[in-house]
């Protein structure tokens, strides 16, 4: 296939991708290390930042060619008319209740026994009106509780175990490595919200701008293939994943061996994206669902 802006021979495409320095993006680091990108003539530069505030405008303005973001954020962005599109799966739930990479935890002596008991309680999530609160509500709903009565408060993941221990909140929703950290402090898991929301939920995805898709479809295609290979490799080699996490995060070695790794299927679970969209509409994050076929790859 002809590319509008072909790379000069021996001169790979310089590609910048905005990611967050967390467990979820291990495959792309691994893929880069394994040469899955350079083999496709992509010179990948991974730039970490704290979240969507920097990554999304970065991708829209062309500073990044690709970005990593959770699905709900992408749905929100799309519904507001941002010219973006998913290109590859990012990370997915393990689908195993009680053994997922994220979950809702309470103090050991808490009267809360199940998601149903969260009704009327305060739960900390890392960002309000996003994937955390919608999926936790889904857990409550599924357990037969009143999802509307859960009070959410915004607290960064790293601060949540401390807040739980001090009794500032009744429950916390965290992902690894904080699930392991909180458990080490004696916290107890009461719900696996990603599992409750949808089977094999796709949590996050890699995305790009529509402009790049139009201008350089070949690059997008190569990136997609490299990602697929990376995801598959990561899924098959958990030990290498645990090793590479230590290179771009500061998670202690003894913690990396203990954490529950997420699932990295090659394909986006379209049904689960639909579910997240429905949840977002139901919880009034947006008035009208965006056309998903414009968002999905």
């Amino acid at each position: 296939t002809p590319t509008p802006t072909p790379a000069a021979p021996g001169q790979p495409d310089k590609v910048a991708a905005g990611v967050i320095a967390i467990v979820d993006v291990a495959p792309i680091y691994l893929g880069k290390q394994k040469g899955f990108f350079s083999g496709r003539n992509i010179d990948l530069d991974l730039q970490t930042s704290q979240g969507g505030a920097a990554i999304v405008p970065g991708v829209v303005s062309g500073q990044f060619q690709f970005g990593f973001s959770n699905v709900t954020s992408l749905i929100l962005a799309k519904s507001r008319g941002l010219p973006i599109r998913m290109v590859s799966n990012g990370v997915a739930s393990t689908g195993k209740d009680g053994a997922d990479f994220g979950g809702v935890l309470v103090k050991a002596d808490s009267p809360i026994r199940s998601a149903k008991d969260l009704a009327g309680r305060t739960v900390a999530v890392n960002t309000l009106k996003n994937i955390g609160d919608t999926t936790v509500r889904a857990s409550v709903r599924k357990a037969g509780g009143d999802p509307a009565s859960v009070k959410f408060v915004e607290l960064a993941f790293p601060d949540q175990p401390a807040a739980l221990a001090a009794g500032r909140v009744d429950a916390i929703w965290v992902v690894e490595p904080f699930v392991t950290a909180a458990k080490a402090q004696g916290a107890r898991l009461v719900a696996s919200n990603y599992v409750d929301a949808a089977p094999d939920l796709t949590v996050a995805a890699y995305f790009t701008s529509q402009e790049l898709i139009a201008k350089n479809p070949d690059l997008v295609k190569r990136f997609k293939e490299a990602m697929a290979e990376s995801l598959a490799y990561a899924a098959a080699h958990p030990d290498e994943v645990r090793a590479i996490i230590g290179t771009y995060t500061q998670i202690a070695a003894d913690v990396t061996t203990k954490i529950t790794l997420p699932a990295w299927p090659a394909e986006i679970n379209k049904a689960s994206v639909q579910t997240l969209t429905d949840l977002a509409v139901q919880d009034k994050l947006l008035e009208k669902a965006p056309a998903l076929d414009e968002l999905l790859p």
Partner: protein
């Protein structure tokens, strides 16, 4: 005439913004028109009572505490070189710590409620007041200090505070806008409502015109607070402006 001059530049800037942004298709830089529409939709309603007023109340509380703390500590530090030498490194250390990393510690100590947010505001507002008070106190005229000593006039209450007041006012004015900024920052943590929270929420939810309307509101609040401040300043520094103006009657 003066009022005209005061609004002249903002008017020009707004007009320029309006014209230049009119046809904008840029997602992050919408036309001013869109922003103003969003402004009306967003802020004329329940949000004022739910988000704006509680934020302003926290700002007021934090600012007041910072004022009292900054002036009190500033007078002590400014008057006693020994105290200054002792505490200065620690203060400079704390001053350089960014609020986003300070917040987790504050949460440990003060929880996640209003108290924490007020403390965040205090932690930022106090520095310009403190530094300016210290310097103002150190610069007090020697003859005035001697006069107080001789006539047994309580120096702090009757002299130091007044003599340093031009500089203290400078610090208080700096602190005012820093307070607004920290009001926003404090609501980025452990928040459920508030003006800053809403603005950040809009940003995360990609409601960009709404976000800009929030920024606009923050600016307007800044202007309103500055006007209020000037009223207070005018009475506190009556003598100072009088002295400086009286002899400038060209």
């Amino acid at each position: 005439m003066k009022a005209l001059k005061v609004i002249a530049l903002p008017a020009v800037l707004f007009a320029g913004w309006w014209v230049l942004s009119a046809g904008s298709k840029d997602f992050y830089r919408p036309p001013l028109r869109t922003i103003l529409v969003a402004f009306a939709d967003t802020w004329f309603g329940a949000r004022i009572a739910d988000d704006v007023l509680p934020s302003l109340a926290r700002l007021g509380a934090g600012y007041a505490v910072a004022l009292v703390l900054g002036i009190a500590a500033g007078v002590v530090i400014g008057r006693h070189p020994a105290v200054r030498e002792t505490v200065e490194p620690v203060l400079e250390f704390l001053r350089a710590v960014p609020p986003p990393v300070l917040v987790p510690i504050l949460i440990l100590v003060a929880g996640i409620g209003d108290l924490m947010k007020v403390l965040v505001i205090v932690s930022g507002c106090v520095w310009p007041i403190l530094l300016n008070t210290v310097e103002g106190v150190r610069a007090v005229d020697g003859v005035l200090a001697d006069t107080c000593a001789v006539y047994r006039v309580p120096p702090v209450r009757r002299m130091v505070l007044r003599a340093a007041s031009p500089q203290i006012v400078t610090g208080a004015r700096q602190a005012l806008s820093i307070g607004v900024i920290l009001m926003v920052i404090s609501e980025m943590f452990a928040a459920r409502s508030g003006l800053g929270f809403t603005v950040v929420q809009f940003q995360r939810g990609f409601q960009i015109p709404e976000m800009w309307s929030g920024v606009l509101l923050l600016g307007l609040i800044g202007v309103a607070l500055a006007a209020l401040f000037r009223l207070v300043e005018r009475s506190v520094l009556r003598w100072y402006h009088g002295q400086r103006a009286a002899e400038k009657q060209h």
